[in-house]
Amino acid sequence: MLGNSVLSTLGRVLGAVFIGLVLTGTALAQQPLKIGFGMSLTGPLAGNGKAALIAMEIWRDDVNAKGGILGRKVEFVYYDDQTSPATVPSIYTKLLDVDKVDLVVSGYGTNVIAPAMPIIMQRNLTFMTLFGLNVNSKFSYDRYFQIMPAGPQPAIGWSQGFFDAAMGMNPKPKTIALVGADAEYPAMALEGAREHAKKTGLKIVYDKTYPPNTVDYSPIVRAIQATNPEVVFVASYPPDSAGMVRAANEVGLKTRMFGGGLVGPQFAALKTQLGPLLNGVVNYEFYVPDVSSRFPFLEQFLAKYQARAVVEKVDPLGFYLPPYAYAMMQVLDQAITATKGLDQAKLAEYMHKNTFDTYVGKVGFAKNGEWAAPRVMMTQYHGITGNDVEQFKKPGRLTVLSPKEYKTGDLKAPYHENKK
């Protein structure tokens, strides 16, 4: 009868709609969550870029093993940015317009973060970045976030621990020499150091930079010695870090405190290469085995990382970028889960208002996207014997001088009498 056939058609239509909705719903839920980024797989920072990628892939596998984020499996879409700014606009426009990724994060370093900013800002995206140096001071973007623990004023936060330890010496030092490479990071670090020198009343008796392809660092160290500084702050990249430390030993540099901003000794390559030459040097680290008890879970992450690192021939220790690369993805994971979606405005708001529990501890962001408080560890190397890497995997090869919550010992001055 008419009523029956209408009802049955209605029933069938409703049934079809219902099934359709369920299927679409599940289909959407099954759609992978694509995260896009450029990463330095070749070029000067490739060693770090590859290490960061490994950490991020470990995170992806961990998250997917637990069912993904909001039920969606995480997938990466990434391209090699060759550590060159010129490739970045093309990479990010491709990720967003062609590959249609759901979320983007940055590559490693200011060089590849800054060129992406205009694109990110135009589309009002939330942008988690990996170790850019004060990039947001130029753009003042409210959806920018940074996982490097330098604090809201990175230049200052970077060497805070160094100057705290320096002024803790008795008697207080009066003179300081500043030296660094002609490059982006050292320029920033030295700027911060100059600020600190002004604040602490230290007289700057040497303030020069050297070109990155310098062959011989002895003339530089000799020139520094000629000014008789009580403290020497060095900001350098790996090759010149090695050169400066070697030169300091060769020349027999006599000063009360030496080091501060050397990039390089955080990695296995330089730790093993320089070995005992590092003894007495004060330098920043982001993680050391001596504080492993303060960072639960980090040891097992590092075990996973170190297993892969050996195979893929990147830094076998993984104390520098990898924990932070992992942590930045954890922050995003928690933010997406809490806001139940990928609304960029809501994500940014959530990330500004909350602190996150990550493998590198509690992470909170300041208004400009940097860490709310600096947490760069200042350490002094000691007791290094020979050139094997295993000694660095265990505690005992350095003292953490700062910040207070991680301190394991005091500074041993002067530098030239404490080289063991």
């Binding site: 797989l41 070749t42 391209y79 090699d80 060759q82 060159s84 700014p85 010129a86 490739t87 970045v88 606009p89 093309s90 990479i91 426009t93 491709k94 967003l96 317009d97 062609v98 200011t110 060089n111 800054a114 060129p115 900013m117 205009p118 694109i119 135009q122 130029k138 753009f139 490479a181 002609d182 490059a183 982006e184 050292p186 320029a187 920033m188 930079t209 070109p211």
Partner: protein, 315 residues
């Protein structure tokens, strides 16, 4: 086709392309196309001195960087708009070329090549030490918020600008090629001594062609800081610009203005594709291998093949 007509045609084509491509919805195309156009200008510019005159310039990256950093300087000093930067960058690069040429073109070509290399290093150090344009830390050039001509995004604007500049470079190259100047340059390329003896003012011509070549290279660099919003010395002076500016005319053919265009479009596109597919270390290897292969086996490039093929067909 006279120069004026060619110029009009080139401009029309450039504007038409710019207009039509605005319809492409994704921004990636513009980003990639900008880079390819940049190489078109660089390759065409290099070829004026390299292919037409026979003098190798290893400092393309330096003149490119001069253009870029002049823009930065004017942006920092006067908040000058892009147009001012373009004109200024081109002029300054041209002057630098004039200086280099004046110092070294009296000597053999090889010394010019070495001097251009040395100039690149000196300039790099100079820029690294010059804090006003950012020095080693790099300089930020923020893209303006209002975009003229009602274009949706800034990248569309500088892409269109780059198109017009590329057309301009091609017009200049073609004009030189077909002029008395061009014949003089060709004479220098074939046998400088004979040319000098026949009354060709070799030094004056060489200096002029160096100036034009370097000015155009600088022009290519002027929009670069706006494209990236950030510029720092080691990427501005990147060897990739030097190598590509030599490889592209070599591959395309150095005898005419079409060669660098073909070489740049081909090689540039291949590099863009490789960048988002295969690992990019291979990208550089490809450029190097192609360079060596073409220079040994096909010295006249693709245009040379086309010419040979046409000649065979004509028979």
């Amino acid at each position: 086709m006279s120069n004026r007509i060619f110029a009009l045609v080139a401009l029309a084509v450039a504007l038409a392309l710019a207009a039509v491509t605005q319809l492409i919805p994704n921004e990636y195309f513009f980003s990639a196309a900008y880079t390819v156009l940049l190489f078109v200008i660089l390759a065409t510019a290099w070829n004026i001195l390299g292919g037409y005159t026979g003098y190798v310039n290893f400092g393309s990256a330096a003149f490119f960087a001069i253009g870029a950093y002049t823009t930065v300087f004017f942006y920092n000093a006067f908040k000058a708009p892009l147009a001012v930067g373009i004109v200024a960058g081109t002029l300054v690069a041209g002057l630098a070329g004039l200086g280099l040429g004046y110092l070294t073109l009296r000597l053999r070509g090889v010394f010019f090549a070495i001097a251009s290399l040395a100039l690149a290093v000196v300039l790099y150090i100079f820029i690294v030490n010059w804090d006003y344009v950012g020095g080693a830390r790099g300089a930020y050039v923020l893209q303006p918020k209002e975009i003229p001509f009602g274009l949706p995004r800034y990248i569309h604007l500088i892409y269109a600008v780059q198109l017009v500049m590329a057309a301009f470079a091609l017009v200049v190259a073609r004009a030189i090629e077909h002029s008395t100047l061009g014949r003089g340059l060709a004479a220098i390329r074939d046998d400088e001594l004979a040319a000098e003896c026949s009354g060709v003012p070799t030094l004056r011509l060489k200096i002029f062609s160096t100036m034009v070549s370097c000015a155009l290279m600088g022009m290519a660099g002027t929009t670069f800081p706006y494209y990236l919003s950030y510029i720092e010395p080691s990427s501005a002076f990147s060897l990739s610009y030097t190598v590509n500016s030599i490889a592209m005319p070599l591959i395309g053919g150095m005898m005419s203005w079409m060669g660098p265009l073909i070489g740049a479009v081909l090689l540039g596109t291949v590099q863009q594709v490789v960048q988002v597919t295969v690992s990019s270390a291979w990208n550089l290897l490809i450029v190097g291998v192609l360079l060596v292969l073409f220079v040994t086996l096909a010295p006249n490039g693709i245009m040379g093949w086309v010419d040979a093929w046409r000649r065979r067909r004509g028979r």
